[in-house]
Subunit: 111 residues, 2 copies
């Protein structure tokens, strides 16, 4: 089971934190959607998401060409509360807007 120290280290990087807040508000997203919403390189996003998966914080699922990531269903309540508190602090800002503006989103009508 994940420890507070491990979770906090995972959240201490802005790429990972923004990915997680986006998952908190959007359920499930594929890598290219993170890349678009955060305007970061694909390898960078992929590496950080893989890191979160290895820690058991998120779960991935391949759907054809795409790999979707979501918060791990068994993520403990205290960890969700931590994420909620961070969300309360500053939300996800423009990120959701950029995501909504993405053309041909693979996640649409997928959940």
């Amino acid at each position: 089971m994940i420890t507070p120290e491990t979770l906090f280290r995972a959240l201490s990087d802005s790429t990972r934190l923004r990915c997680l807040l986006l998952m908190l508000s959007e359920q499930s997203l594929c890598v290219c959607e993170f890349v678009h919403a955060l305007d970061l390189s694909q390898p960078r996003v992929s590496r950080h998401l893989g890191h979160l998966r290895d820690l058991g914080i998120v779960q991935d699922e391949r759907r054809g060409q795409w790999v979707h990531y979501r918060l791990h269903p068994q993520l403990p309540d205290w960890a969700r509360e931590v994420l909620q508190a961070a969300f309360a602090a500053d939300g996800v800002g423009d990120i959701r807007r950029r995501l909504a503006a993405m053309p041909n989103r693979p996640s649409i009508a997928c959940d």
Copy 2:
């Protein structure tokens, strides 16, 4: 004002995290009490507490020879919620016991 990313980085080190959880449960403590409760070197504890002070997460106050640290009174609610959630995850374990067992605690009858 402190950002989630900055707070999480501060909490990602076990020395700092345990100091903060101890402050959450004990209000105000001096450096030598942290040293005793956590069983760590004095320079190590002092440097981490100074770091937390520089970030605005804790407040220090000199009382004679001793310097007492506490959570910063203006620490935002979301940050306190994060600490509470971490506390809920594993409390402070044996740390409080070791603190209670410390002889001649400078904090006693000080608050």
